[in-house]
Amino acid sequence: MARLRRQFEIRLAGGYGFDHLERAIRDICPLMSHPAGEPFSVDLSGLAYIGPTALSLLVGVIKEREEEGCDCLIAPPKSELTRNYLQRMDVTRHLFDGAIPESFERKAPVGFRPVQHFRDDTDYWVAAKELSQALYERFSPDEMTSAAIRVCLDELTENVVQHAYTELGGFAAAQSSTKRKTFEVAIVDLGVGVRESLQRNPEIGEIADDTKAIHRALMPRVTSTPERNSGIGLFVTRMLLQANGGQLLVRSGRGAVYHGAKKHEEVLEASFPGTIVAIRAHYDRPLDLDHVYSMLAPETSDDDD
């Protein structure tokens, strides 16, 4: 194994699950300030677990630096279990110009799909389809649940293409837990963030901070591009998860808003340039879009609080 040179390094150790996003941001995002063209290393030797949200973030940030001409060296996890998981998730698919190091060579598993990287209208649809399929293989949802999963993935990935204003595009991953009977989906972009995106719509005007911006984005009919978009994708996702008992997290800039079992918001010290949307839902409870749509009335505004 190549020795890690003394160079800029980020190190991930322990677990990075759905509830550990801030730690993932703290440990991964310093890489974004790394100078273009300079090599860096990512030490995963102590990594025990990384969920779809942190994984999408990691791949996205590494890819962003690679596109700035930085060479990357990744030390794989010591844990065989973790290494196998990263292989199944094909974590290095988008990195290393396609030349996958032996330690990350992927065996073909059922129910796992690589972290998806998408940049345009065709890509996002394929990404949503792939991730939906991965989830279907794991827990065989009924027709309505399958439909809801696919619709949410389409809406959330399309949001990146329409509203993030980044040529890098977005990164998405999905995973389920048969133990907890839940699934988790994450969509990450390193674009302009929710506040700046919304403020491109002159009818929206000034928004005081990132948390307020996220709240606005979660309301119906709020979009940066009203001539093109309806602004209800994120709102419908929120309502769907509320009815399911699941959770929705939107993180952008210094804001974070959680909807679901524990609804709260935070203004955070660490600013995240871009947007992370993560959902965690119960696959043994209804995910019924028809029911959510039936609750929409033409005059619906944000009335859930």
Binding site: W125, I232, L289, P298
Partner: protein, 88 residues
């Protein structure tokens, strides 16, 4: 009059704005050519909000009607049409 079975075109779920845009553009071509069009939603389990915006809200035309809309999709139709018409 032309009846288009959306389930035969798209499967049970209409999802993705780009896919719905293709449907809308096809319908617009037929309407512009003087045809009456019925979009049949029989067999459609659901659709995405973006697809609803493309097919219901952006496609408010005479000589176009919808058949076999579920209660939920009727509600979605009302919502997106009202949104677009109000300029919200």
């Amino acid at each position: 009059m032309t009846t288009i079975s959306l389930a035969e075109t798209c499967g049970p779920v209409i999802s993705g704005r780009s896919r719905a845009r293709e449907i809308r553009e096809d319908v617009e071509r037929r309407l512009d050519a003087g045809d009456d069009v019925v979009l049949d939603f029989g067999g459609i389990v659901t659709m995405s909000p973006s697809a609803g915006d493309e097919i219901f809200a952006k496609l408010q035309r005479e000589h176009l009607s919808f058949a076999n809309l579920s209660e939920g999709l009727q509600s979605l139709e009302n919502f997106v049409v009202a949104s677009r018409n109000s300029g919200a």
